[in-house]
């Protein structure tokens, strides 16, 4: 390890000397700032710089990471992800599709939506998520949340929330690992992730590990530690990487790393979280997102795992025989939209959900 691009002397780092190869990322925002390019809300204006703890010229000593405790172990069964696990909006009952007679064996309920709505949180905590949502299938708790909430919660807060909400399985706490922030930050966050994964072994609830990291080395390290602890189900929050078209840099390596860690492919399962369309090149992975609902709100229609504007001529006059459409074409949904917007939106959302839940590519007529 040598000096980082920004000038920080990584050779003296007492924490990550064994793990980190040194900060050489060209896109590092601290390095860019020192060389003259700043970004509003992150490194500009300087008085509000978020990366100051990692800056060799404007900061002071870097905050030490939390120490990694001795890792415990527990034999864990897989959670059993279906091919598509719809995420729901706990604050918007229109996304509670089971009320309209549609079935799914599991849903993801995002914790952050509860945390930002005290009334709903109180209601859900008093009854438990099953009674609050009135859903009979598995409710998986998603801990993927904005950074400002991540920093606010401690292990005991998570334990309290999980005990009150009683989900069927929960993700371990999320972290933030940016590809353009100094590696010191992402290593600290990954160590926190492993430490919390270790704490979570005390819970009786089935657990879902997280695949996170700013680079392959970090992802591999965090994965191996979780495998050591006995985790068998993993979720990879991949929305940002997918939107930045960088998922292909990471996903194949993650799959190889998992396959190497387990003797048999059936011993683990991986879910891509936050990806709103099917990826043709990857088999045997599950998906989860709220896109089916969000896109319906914006009049977007899923066809064969890809989304289109309802008016797109490619799909506009294609009849669909799913349970929601019953032979309707997107044009019929457009017509319905002008008569009864709410019903049209619900039909479109249900169609999107069913399309994403389908396993095989459908045949065009």
């Amino acid at each position: 390890m040598k000096k980082g691009r920004c000038g920080a002397d990584c050779g003296k780092c007492p924490y990550f000397r064994k793990l980190c190869i040194g900060c050489v990322i060209e896109t590092c925002l601290v390095d860019k700032c020192i060389k003259g390019t700043s970004y509003t809300g992150i490194t500009h204006p300087r008085s509000f710089c978020r990366l100051r703890p990692y800056c060799p010229i404007g900061g002071k000593d870097r905050p030490p990471p939390i120490p990694i405790p001795p890792l415990a172990g527990r034999k864990m069964a897989k959670v059993g992800f279906p091919r598509f696990v719809p995420e729901i909006d706990v604050a918007d009952e229109r996304s509670w599709f089971w009320r309209d007679g549609f079935q799914a064996s599991a849903v993801f309920a995002p914790l952050w939506q509860l945390l930002t709505n005290e009334k709903i949180l109180a209601h859900a905590s008093s009854k438990g998520l099953h009674d609050y949502l009135g859903f009979d299938g598995k409710i998986l708790l998603s801990t993927v949340m904005p950074d400002e909430l991540i920093d606010r919660l401690e292990t005991k807060d998570y334990f309290r929330l999980i005990n009150d909400l009683k989900p069927d399985a929960t993700m371990i706490p999320d972290n933030y690992t940016y590809t353009d922030a100094p590696l010191y930050q992402s290593w600290s966050q990954n160590i926190r992730l492993v430490s919390l994964a270790n704490d979570f072994l005390k819970l009786d609830t089935p657990l879902i590990g997280l695949v996170k990291g700013a680079n392959l080395r970090q992802m591999d390290w965090a994965l191996r530690k979780q495998v050591e602890m006995g985790y068998a189900s993993f979720a990879m929050p991949a929305r940002e990487l997918f939107e930045e078209e960088r998922l292909d840099e990471f996903l194949p390596y993650v799959l190889i790393s998992l396959k190497r860690s387990y003797r048999v492919r059936e011993d683990f399962e991986l879910l891509l979280y936050g990806v709103g369309q099917k990826l043709r090149n990857y088999k045997d992975i599950s998906y989860s997102s709220l896109s089916w609902f969000l896109r319906a709100k914006h009049g977007e229609y899923y066809w064969d795992g890809l989304f289109y504007d309802l008016r797109d001529p490619v799909i506009r006059f294609e009849e669909c025989y799913c349970e929601a459409c019953g032979g309707m074409m997107p044009q019929d949904i457009i017509d319905l939209w002008f008569e009864d917007k709410e019903r049209a939106m619900k039909t479109l959302a249900a169609h999107n959900l069913l399309d994403l839940s389908r396993l095989k590519r459908r045949k065009r007529r």
Binding site: T27, L29, C33, I34, K35, G36, T37, S38, Y39, T40, G41, I42, H44, P45, R46, S47, F48, C49, R52, C55, I57, G58, G59, K60, W112, V144, M145, P146, D147, I150, D174, N175, Y176, T177, Y178, T179, D180, A181, K212, P237, A238, R239, E240, L241, E243, E244, R246
Partner: protein, 303 residues
């Protein structure tokens, strides 16, 4: 949630992340850390380790030390004061030692000045802050507090007739400091400066006062805890202070004396005796003995 590029995330979530050319930097002149923000006040720590207090972005004070707590930040000032910055704004509060000293002076002390003409013309003014007690333990507490707050030692005088000890400090600075707080407006009068006391300060003030003008009596196995004073207004303020701390003191009673003077008092309800002993207590050895006995009995009952 954070993954991928921080810039892209800022663009998506906050419509920020625009590129700005800010020039090459050898050092970051504006380097500071925002320690905490309370409404229009912000506390920033500079690279040099000092703390700046900003109001609406304008620097209003620099401090060498700070104590950062969950709900507030405290900056030490001179003469036993601290500047408290919290959601409620900014105020000067006293450190517990000063609150204790004020409580003792309010109960059994004086803070006065005397102006006399000089023989050669002009005037001479003497300033006196004193505490009177026949209890050595209380005199020691007064001395320790005065030393800690003002870095001054007191002179001791013992009255042969009754053994009363006077601990006296002759200092213009202390006189004006306590006068500014309106602690002893006149003889047998006092004022509890609640606006300058946080919860810890309130407890210390009450402990100081109770050590002087507090009474614990045992009669027929029943214990009475009582605050008394000739100053009704001051006593009412003490009641309010106790209420701030979650006590429910009884109403003030007037006891007329033969010479026409009145003494006022109020009681602490029996249900709050243990709370009072644990949270406030007293330095007077006689009180301490009874309190310890009460606690022992209470614990015995619990077992």
């Amino acid at each position: 949630m954070g993954g991928g590029s921080a810039v892209k995330q800022h663009e998506r979530r906050f419509l920020q992340g625009e590129r700005e050319d800010t020039g090459k930097k050898k050092e970051c002149g504006e380097a500071y850390w925002s320690v905490k923000t309370f409404g229009e006040y912000e506390v920033r720590e500079t690279k040099g380790g000092e703390y700046g207090l900003f109001k609406k972005g304008n620097l209003v004070g620099m401090f060498v030390k700070a104590t950062v707590e969950e709900e507030r930040i405290l900056f030490p000032l001179s003469r036993g004061f601290m500047l408290e910055v919290s959601r409620r704004g900014v105020r000067e509060i006293t450190i517990p030692e000063k609150a204790l000293l004020m409580g003792m002076v309010a109960a059994d002390g004086s803070n006065r000045s005397r102006r006399e003409p000089r023989r050669r013309g002009g005037y001479r003014t003497d300033y006196l802050t004193a505490f009177y007690s026949d209890d050595l333990e209380l005199i020691r507490m007064f001395d320790e507090s005065a030393n800690r707050v003002y870095n001054l030692a007191s002179h001791h005088y013992v009255r042969k007739r009754n053994g009363l000890i006077t601990a006296a400090i002759y200092s213009k600075g202390i006189y004006y400091d306590l006068s500014d707080l309106n602690l002893k407006p006149g003889p047998y009068e006092f004022h509890a400066p609640r606006e300058h006391l946080d919860d810890e300060g309130k407890r210390a003030f009450l402990k100081g006062f109770f050590s002087g003008d507090g009474n614990v009596s045992v009669s027929g196995g029943e214990i009475t805890i009582r605050f008394y004073s000739r100053c009704r207004e001051g006593l009412e303020e003490l009641r309010q202070t106790l209420m701030d701390l979650g006590f429910h003191p009884r109403g003030i009673r007037e006891d007329r004396e033969p010479k026409g003077k009145s003494t006022y008092s109020f009681l602490i309800p029996r249900s709050e005796h243990i709370k009072f002993i644990n949270e406030i207590g007293s330095y007077r050895p006689k009180h301490v003995r009874i309190f310890e006995e009460m606690k022992r009995r209470g614990e015995g009952r619990e077992e």
